[in-house]
Every structure is written in structure tokens, then in C-alpha cells.
């Protein structure tokens, strides 16, 4: 039986606060952690079917019509089985939730680095060499590759004007009017995209590095021309995603096509350089931000107009202004997004698309406003918290920004901060502190899960993935808590499309979506147990394997002569039309900046986050550490460099693209603001995976200003830019 839930109304009954076992909401080990530390979690490239062949993708060296002049010679090389240049191969990874094939074709390259062939051989070494031996000539014209070369699109649905912003900007007591730029960035998950495909003549089974299997299944089926039910995807362990594995990727489609054609299993692993090129990157942004305020820092108008880029025929555009729609009150508003269609590798979702870069730039502007008005930065945010959604007028489902700001400031010791910059020097190092607010929209998407309870324990099943987010842990906790089981009696099985379709991992919605489906499945089992005992579910206590109903105590084992199956199904209802729902937080950072070299070191960082109920503080904290560290990367080190002439990614490896290393990251403090968001479902839990990055970089950039008096508006703040800004500021 299925317990269905449509999210239309608030859940004022906080059941999860009354559960007896003390498992949900408490620190627990990741069950998958033990496999991971032993090297026994198997990722996409780590199965070894009989007759496995190895495929290597080949890239286009330029844009235009593609010709493979020595295809036959390469195919005749010893050990080479096939040089496949298949029209169904995909141009780039599908966008998240696309649910259908992305742009296909290999006879034409729209960007430098596009996969245009697959070389399949008996060994990886042979395939790699043959891929290098294939001569790819491209006969075409150079296409525009920088945003300034084209007139950008201005989609009507991405422009907002409320009140009279232009007059407000002209007449304001205080106006901040600045342009901020962020570079292109990438997810750079540690596991390269990889697929092992097996075709039995009827069904395609593919083990992949994928985040959202129920969509990926349809994307792959559509790409290769199979009915969806003839595709099975497996992704029990995924080595990070951060958006880059949302949609079906080139390795999957190519491996599937090759396996179907050759009748043998084929593994395709993207080379790290291909990981940079053929999936999706975060677009670079140019953000014009205007803040009109009274002398005491009350916002009367705000403008946030952004330019991003995207490859032709892609729907996604980095939603830079998403957070600005609801972050701050101001009657007069001008928000807009422009899209330059250029021939760089496709843009797509990278951790917290929109707010990651949009809130960061906006929160730097807010710091400039704090400096201009002399209002303390925390106080400035507090002054401008809206009491309802500033554009739609809808109430907030829950709004804990004030608590996040105050509790964070208290824990960080913000109060002792001098107002003026350049007040502390430690040898050649200037030190200072900065803060920012954090905003992120909250989403729930349709999800299903199944639990089978028997004498020997419970098994939770969903095609949901765990990309490091902690799905295994929290589903185990939810089921154990509701079903009165010890943790080790609950097994969680994920990442197989033969299980009920979960939400997939993305948009921070996994816990609140698939987690709620697991909750519902468990509730459905509780109902069946209650029925067997002849009591109401609400009167049933399940603890340590004992069912208690009034004065009756029954061993669950006695009740479970047969298996009980519960099925949970949640889908978004009209709650999102009734309320504005988001997560809120605050970041605080202390930095040291070398007066000699312009190098910046983050000395400490604290984040306070309100994300509804925290299901497992340990895994939640790690998610926040991740977001905050990405903020360090965004502020200081990460920049994807495109060649100005043809748009190709110049630094497409992990030596040239600098993700933060251990030495860049100090101990990070995380505190969770107590919150139950009743509109978020029966657990009152919201997403947490992305809030930590939103605005984190701004706290660091603002701390650099406080330390040195230098304002960075072009991220990242590499030593050369910090020195230039210090020089410009007259120091």
C-alpha cells in the first residue's frame, strides 16, 4: 500500500520531536562510511563484467564541421574494436531534470572539446592511444566565444521591475552602484564521470556516475532510442556531483551505444580534462548591483542585473538573481538576467546555481553599503529583513535570518570588531573580519521509497543516490526511528532504477523529498502494525523492537511472521503558491592578508544556518563545511580560464584549476539555528547542501576589505588582484 502526500498545508504536528529512540536528529555514523574507508564502495568504473571493452572519448579541436580522416586506419590498429562516430552521441551532458536527450550529433562541433567520437578497444591503454591517433580535422569558422562579442538575449520572464527603481537610484541618500564579476567555475567532483554499459539484447544496464536516476534513465533511453523500461541504471556510490552529474553525460550515451553495437560490455571513463569540458560549467557572471538606501541603511531600492553565458540550444541559464527576489525588503526593484549565446562549453547547475554567485556579489555590495552608511554589517542586514516576500507579498513559511545573524555574531565574537578597516596588523599580515547573509530557495520534488519490514529488520529502497550528502545515513535513521529498530537492523539500498523512483540528488532537495517518502513508507508500516494491534497509529510506540499500544506490549518479531511493505510517495502541492520558502544563514570569516604578497589566508570561519529540522548533525555539518570551503574557493582560488579566441578551457586540469586544498581551509565552525518549517513536510526539514556556499565567499571578500581597506569586485581575490586593489585604495 502507498501513503501519498501532496504538500499543500503546514504540518503543525511535530511528530519527530516526540519519537522515543533518539536516533533521528542525532549524530550517527554513515553506514556507507565503513565501506568507503575500507575501499569497498564500488563506483561507476569499478565493476568488471566478462568481456569488458574500454572506450575513450575524442574531442573536437575547434568548432565547425568535423572530419575523421584516418578513421579506418585507427580502427585497424591492433586491439581496437571500433571507432564510433555515432549521430546519437550527445554534445554535452543533459541539464538537470531534462528527462529527455540533450542536443545530439557528432558531425558538427559547437564548442572546442565537444566529444565527437568514441574509440573502443580491448584495453584502456590501447583505446587511449588510438584516441590520440585519430586525426580530427574541423572545417569551420570561429564562433563568438566571449560574452562581449554578441548581443545578449533578454528573456521577458527573467526581468522584474517594481515601483520606480530608476528614480529611487537617482534620488537616494546613499547609492552603491558597482559591477561585480565572477569567473566560470566547475564542480570538479573527485570521481570522473564514468559508465559501464552492458546490453543483453533486450535491456541496457548501465552503472554510472549520476545524481538523478529516474530522469537519467529517460534521458539515456531517449538518447539511444530505447523504451525507458528497457534501461536500468545503477549508481549505489557516486564520487561527488555538485550538479555536474545531474543529467546523462557523454560517457553514458557513448558506452551504451558501443555496448549495443558490439554486444559486449563497454566502460567509458572521462579523462579529467574531459570532465572539465563535456559536462557543464558554472557560467561566468557580470553583475550590476545598485543599492539605494536612507542614511541609516534602510533599503529603498535595489537593482541586480546580471549577464551570463550559455551555448546555443541549452535551456538553462545561471539564475543569478534568484536570491535577490526575496532577500531584502525594498519597494523599488529592478532585477534582470541577460544571456549571451556563445560557444564555450555548456553552462549548467553547479552547487547552488544562482545564489552561490548571486548572493555572494550582492552581499559584497551590502558590505559596501555598510561602509558607506557606517551601519554595522550585521545590523544592516537585520534592518532590511522583509516581513513578507518583497515581490509577491506571500508570507514566508519560516524565516530565521534574524536568529542566524544574531547567534552567528555572538558565537563568532563579532561585537568586538573595530568599525574601521586596517586596524590590526600581525607582522606583514593585515587581519580583519567580514560577514554576509546566506539565502537559498528551498525545493521539494516528487519522490517515492519503499520499506520492507521483517523479523530480521527493515530494508529501505529507492533509486535515490548518495553523492556524499548522507542519504544512506538519514534514511537509515528515519526508518529505524519510526519502526523501533536499532540502526544496524536497517539496511538502505539506493541507486538502482528497479527501486521506487526517489528525487535524485540535486538542489538540496534530497533529504526533504526522498527523506519524506521514506518517512511516509515507515508511517504506512506503522499504520499496518497499529491495525494488527487494533489501535490508532498515533497511540503506537515502537522502540527497541517492542510495539506498545496502551498497556499492550508486543514484540515486533511476534507481529512480523510475514513481511510488511510500506510505500511512501510525496509530491509538491500548492504550498509553493501559498508561501515563500527558503533557507537562511550567516557567514563570518577572519582573514589575514599579506601586505607584501597579497596572499589571503582564512584564519577561521563560522556559519550559522537555519534549514528546518537537522536530521543528522554530523552529516549536515559536513555538508556545510563543503559549502563554506567552496566559498573559500570562490573568493580566493577558483577560476576557469577560457581562451579568448575560441573559448576553449585553458586550465582544464586540477593543477591549473585551483580547488582549495587542506592548507587553504581552517577549522570551520557550524551552528544550526533551531527551526521547524511546518510547510516543509512531516519532518519540518529543509535542504542544507547548498546554503553553505551562498554568500560564503562574500564574508571573505568583506573581511579582506576590513583587513586592508581594499575592495575586490572581480573574483577570485588572487594575490595580484589583492595587490592591485590595495594600490588602488591608496595603500
Amino acid at each position: 500500500m502507498t501513503l501519498d502526500l501532496k504538500l499543500d498545508t503546514p504540518f503543525e504536528d511535530h511528530r519527530a520531536d516526540q519519537l522515543p529512540q533518539g536516533i533521528l536528529g542525532h549524530e550517527q555514523d554513515r553506514p556507507d562510511g565503513w565501506l568507503k574507508v575500507a575501499g569497498r564502495a564500488t563506483y561507476a568504473a569499478e565493476t568488471d563484467p566478462d568481456g569488458l571493452l574500454h572506450g575513450v572519448l575524442v574531442r573536437a579541436p575547434a568548432t565547425g564541421t568535423v572530419m575523421l580522416s584516418n578513421l579506418a586506419e585507427v580502427e585497424a590498429m591492433p586491439g581496437v574494436r571500433k571507432v564510433m562516430s555515432h549521430p546519437k552521441m550527445i554534445r554535452n551532458a543533459a541539464q538537470g531534470t531534462a528527462n529527455k536527450a540533450p542536443v545530439q550529433g557528432v558531425d558538427h562541433a559547437d564548442y572546442v572539446g565537444q566529444p565527437i567520437a568514441l574509440v573502443v578497444a580491448e584495453t584502456f591503454e590501447t583505446a587511449t592511444h588510438a584516441a590520440h591517433a585519430l586525426i580530427v580535422s574541423v572545417d569551420g569558422v570561429v564562433k563568438p566565444a566571449t560574452p562581449d562579442e554578441v548581443t545578449p538575449e533578454q528573456p521577458d520572464d527573467k526581468q522584474t521591475i517594481l515601483g520606480d527603481p530608476d528614480i529611487t537610484f537617482a534620488d537616494a541618500d546613499v547609492l552603491i552602484d558597482e559591477t561585480y564579476t565572477t569567473p566560470a567555475m566547475v564542480s570538479a567532483a573527485m570521481e570522473p564521470h564514468a559508465a559501464t554499459a552492458d546490453w543483453d539484447g533486450d535491456t541496457l544496464t548501465l552503472r554510472g556516475a549520476l545524481q538523478m536516476l529516474k530522469f537519467n534513465k529517460n534521458e539515456l533511453a531517449d538518447s539511444v532510442g530505447l523504451p525507458s523500461e528497457k534501461v536500468r541504471l545503477l549508481a549505489p556510490y557516486v564520487g561527488g556531483g555538485f550538479g555536474s552529474k545531474l543529467g546523462i553525460s557523454a560517457d553514458c550515451v557513448a558506452a551504451a551505444l558501443a555496448a549495443m553495437e558490439l554486444g559486449q560490455p563497454v566502460r567509458v571513463v572521462q579523462h579529467r580534462r574531459q570532465v572539465f569540458e563535456v559536462n557543464t560549467r558554472r557560467s561566468e557572471t557580470r553583475q550590476h548591483i545598485r543599492l539605494a538606501a536612507s542614511k541609516d541603511g534602510k533599503l529603498v531600492g535595489l537593482g541586480h542585473e546580471a549577464l551570463v553565458s550559455q551555448l546555443p540550444e541549452e535551456d538553462f541559464s545561471e539564475p543569478v538573481i534568484q536570491g535577490s527576489h526575496f532577500a531584502y525588503a525594498a519597494a523599488n526593484r529592478k532585477l534582470g538576467l541577460e544571456i549571451a549565446r556563445i560557444h564555450r562549453p555548456a553552462a549548467g547547475s553547479v552547487r547552488a546555481p544562482g545564489e552561490s554567485v548571486g548572493v555572494t556579489a550582492f552581499e559584497i555590495a551590502m558590505d559596501e553599503l555598510a561602509v558607506a552608511t557606517g551601519v554595522d554589517p550585521v545590523e544592516l542586514r537585520l534592518k532590511n529583513i522583509p516581513d513578507k516576500d518583497p515581490e509577491s507579498g506571500k508570507p514566508f513559511s519560516s524565516h530565521r535570518l534574524e536568529s542566524a545573524l544574531k547567534q552567528g555574531a555572538e558565537a563568532f565574537g563579532w561585537g568586538s570588531r573595530p568599525d574601521k578597516p586596517r586596524q590590526h596588523r600581525d607582522g606583514e599580515w593585515w587581519t580583519g573580519t567580514g560577514m554576509s547573509a546566506a539565502f537559498r530557495v528551498n525545493m521539494v520534488i516528487e519522490a517515492e521509497a519503499r520499506i520492507v519490514l521483517s523479523e530480521s529488520g527493515a530494508t529501505v529502497q529507492s533509486d535515490m543516490t548518495d553523492i556524499g550528502t548522507g542519504s544512506y545515513a538519514i534514511f537509515q535513521q528515519i526508518a529505524a526511528e519510526l519502526l523501533g529498530q536499532p540502526m544496524d537492523q536497517v539496511t538502505v539500498e539506493l541507486g538502482d532504477t528497479r527501486f521506487p523512483p526517489g528525487s535524485g540528488s540535486g538542489g538540496s532537495f534530497g533529504a526533504a523529498s526522498t527523506g519524506t517518502a521514506v518517512w511516509l513508507a515507515a508511517m504506512e508500516i506503522r499504520q499496518q502494525i497499529a491495525d494488527r494491534l487494533g489501535c490508532a497509529e498515533g497511540d503506537l510506540t515502537l522502540q527497541d523492537g517492542i510495539a506498545t499500544c496502551g498497556n499492550t506490549r508486543t514484540s515486533l518479531g511476534d507481529l512480523l511472521s510475514d513481511e510488511i511493505t510500506g510505500h511512501g510517495h510525496v509530491e509538491p502541492g500548492d504550498a509553493f503558491e501559498k508561501v515563500r520558502q527558503a533557507t537562511f544563514g550567516a557567514h563570518f570569516a577572519e582573514v589575514a592578508v599579506s601586505d607584501v604578497t597579497g596572499e589571503v589566508r582564512v584564519r577561521r570561519m563560522l556559519g550559522s544556518f537555519a534549514c528546518g529540522r537537522i536530521l543528522n548533525p554530523r552529516t549536515a555539518r559536513s555538508q556545510c563545511h563543503g559549502g563554506m570551503t567552496w566559498g573559500i574557493g570562490m573568493a580566493l582560488t577558483e577560476e576557469l580560464t577560457h581562451d579568448r579566441r575560441d573559448g576553449h578551457i585553458v586550465n582544464r586540469d586540477l593543477a591549473g584549476y585551483h580547488v582549495p586544498v587542506n592548507a587553504d581551509v581552517p577549522d570551520l565552525e557550524v551552528l544550526f539555528v533551531d527551526e521547524r518549517d511546518d510547510w516543509a513536510g512531516p519532518m519540518q526539514a529543509k535542504g542544507i547542501g547548498e546554503l553553505g556556499i551562498c554568500g560564503a565567499g562574500a564574508a571573505i571578500i568583506n573581511a579582506i576589505h576590513h583587513a586592508t581597506g581594499a575592495r575586490i569586485r572581480d573574483l577570485p581575490a588572487t594575490p595580484d588582484k589583492v595587490i592591485a586593489a590595495m594600490t588602488k585604495a591608496g595603500y
Binding site: 592511444h129 604578497t597 579566441r645 585553458v650 591549473g656 595580484d720
Partner: protein, 323 residues
């Protein structure tokens, strides 16, 4: 990788013969395998010299004799190096990662190739990779590139930290030729500037093999290595400076300076040292030294910042040395 014959050399002569016949020697392999995987380098024969008996560090004429196969880790941790040549330990420890330093060798480090991303990209032109094909870096995106010693054909940077320290220490490279004779060559004469032949990087002849690096007697003085990079660890230098300075009462008695991150080879300019010797360190002298050092610098778009960083490192290094 292109298929290749692999042999393990039992003696130097085997390795030298293979080199003479166009093969490549492999020691730590941290750069060679990297480049072979991308088929930027495609040797048909690879001779493994990693087990040759070239891995001792011994006293030598008051200085130090460092076998070519000594790993970067062992060299950095050697007590004599830490005591008498701290600039070398510091430079080694500022480079790469612990794992790479365990594998990378002294000889191999000297011979590592540039990290210019266009050199690494077979789909762009590069005179170093394919002589005469052109230089895609010029007019492209420049950051880890040189501003000194470059040419119209190549702006590649020598990426080594270790070699910068060795240059400041007046190290000599011991080379054994095919005929079995050994001679010492100053590091200053070891590296060639790109000119019109950027693919020829050193003065090694076919069959020559590096057997050791020899350090002269320590000269005392204050030694330092400072490296600026784009993250706190595990990144190549934007600019680095190695220094050995003897100063008294604010006056420089003797000085040696070498720079990384700016030169087509590990950079040293004795004109700057000669000019400073006997002088009192003040802002004017520092400015003059920097100007002289950079008088021939070619600051292509994207590399302008390096001039400022050089001045700043020079200033802090000199100021600290006389304090």
C-alpha cells in the same frame, strides 16, 4: 600512451646508449608519465634508471654531492641540507606534494618541462612541442608564463622550485658523456633560453646523462625561499625568490638572488647582485635592483602583475636580511 619498449638499466652505459639512440630515461616519472599520457611526449623507448646507484648524498670538497636519483623528499630532509643549505630544503618543500616529492628525483626535477597549458594541449600550436608550429600562448591566456628570457617563439616558464634554489647556491651539474667522461657544468650554463629553438632546453648532448648535482662549500649568510602562489599549497609559483645574503650593519657584503615564476629558465641576474654588493639597503637600492632585474622583461597582457610581485618580494627579502 604510445607503445614503448621498457628496459631497466643495470648501468649508466645502457641508459646512455638508449639516450643516444633517441630513447628517454625515466627516473621518478612524475612529469614524463604525465606528458606521455597526453602524448605530448611519445618516446619509443624508455629506460628506467631509478634503481641505478645514484642516490647518495655525500660530503664533497666541503660541499655536497647529491646523486641524480636522490628524491626530493630525501634531499629536503637531509640534515646537512637543512643545516647548511636551508634555501634548498625550503624550495623543495614549497613544491608539489608529499607524494610527488617522494617520487621526483634531483636529476628529473632539473629536466622537468614547462607547465604552459598550450604546451600540454596537442590541439594548439606550440614551438616547444612541435618546432615551427607557432605559439598559441602568445595572444592567449597567460599566467604561468615567463617575463624574462622569452622570445617571439616561446613564453614558457621553467616551473621548478628546486632549480631556483640550486641556481642561487651556485650548484653544478655533473654530467657523464657517452664516452664515460664526467664533467661539472654550472647550472647557469645548463639551461638554454628558447630563442628560435624552444624545444632545445638544456646544453645536454645526446647520450649525456646527469649523474649528480654538486653544491659548493656553504657560504653562510641568511638563506630564504619565498614563493607566492594561487593557493596555500600544491601549486606552481606565480613568483618566487631564493636568496643567500651576507649583510652587516644594513650593508650588503655578499648576495645571491634567484627567481622562479618569471624566467624561461630558473632566473639569476648577476648584474643585480654586483650592483648591490657593498651597498646599504634602502628603498632606492631596492627599486634600482628591481628595475635592473626587470629591464629586459616582456610584460605581455596577463603577466604585468609579476613585475610588481618581484619588486615586493625583493623588498621584503632584502629588508628582512639586513634587519
Amino acid at each position: 600512451m604510445k607503445p614503448f619498449d621498457y628496459t631497466r638499466a643495470d648501468d649508466l652505459q645502457t641508459a646512455q646508449r638508449a639516450l643516444h639512440e633517441g630513447g628517454t630515461v625515466i627516473a621518478g616519472g612524475t612529469n614524463l608519465i604525465d606528458l606521455m599520457k597526453l602524448e605530448v611526449m611519445t618516446p619509443g623507448a624508455v629506460v628506467d634508471i631509478s634503481r641505478l646507484d645514484l642516490n647518495d648524498i655525500r660530503d664533497h670538497d666541503g660541499g655536497l654531492y647529491i646523486g641524480a636519483m636522490v628524491t626530493n623528499s630525501d634531499l629536503a630532509a637531509d640534515l646537512r641540507v637543512r643545516r647548511d643549505y636551508p634555501v634548498l630544503s625550503r624550495a623543495l618543500l614549497a613544491g608539489a606534494s608529499g607524494q610527488l616529492r617522494n617520487k621526483a628525483t634531483t636529476g628529473g626535477n632539473l629536466l622537468q618541462r614547462t607547465r604552459c597549458p598550450y604546451f600540454y594541449d596537442r590541439d594548439t600550436s606550440c614551438n616547444k612541442r612541435t618546432p615551427g608550429s607557432g605559439c598559441a600562448a602568445i595572444g592567449g591566456e597567460l599566467r604561468n608564463h615567463a617575463i624574462l628570457g622569452t622570445s617571439d617563439d616561446c613564453v614558457a616558464l621553467h616551473p621548478s622550485d628546486m632549480a631556483v634554489a640550486l641556481r642561487v647556491l651556485d650548484a653544478q651539474v655533473e654530467i657523464e658523456s657517452l664516452d664515460g667522461t664526467r664533467h661539472l657544468r654550472p647550472l647557469d650554463d645548463f639551461y638554454r633560453l628558447p630563442g628560435t629553438t624552444p624545444h632545445i632546453e638544456t646544453s645536454l648532448e645526446p647520450g649525456d646523462i646527469i649523474t649528480a648535482v654538486v653544491l659548493p662549500k656553504p657560504t653562510g649568510g641568511q638563506q630564504s625561499y619565498r614563493k607566492i602562489r594561487d593557493r596555500a599549497s600544491y601549486a606552481f609559483a606565480l613568483v618566487s625568490i631564493a636568496s643567500v645574503i651576507n649583510a652587516r650593519d644594513g650593508k650588503i657584503e655578499n648576495i645571491a638572488l634567484a627567481f622562479g615564476g618569471i624566467g624561461a629558465r630558473p632566473w639569476r641576474d648577476t648584474r643585480v647582485e654586483d650592483m648591490m654588493r657593498g651597498q646599504t639597503v634602502d628603498d632606492q637600492l631596492i627599486q634600482k635592483a628591481g628595475d635592473l632585474l626587470l629591464s629586459d622583461a616582456r610584460l605581455l597582457e596577463g603577466l604585468e602583475f609579476k613585475a610588481d610581485l618581484v619588486h615586493r618580494l625583493l623588498s621584503s627579502t632584502l629588508t628582512e636580511a639586513v634587519q
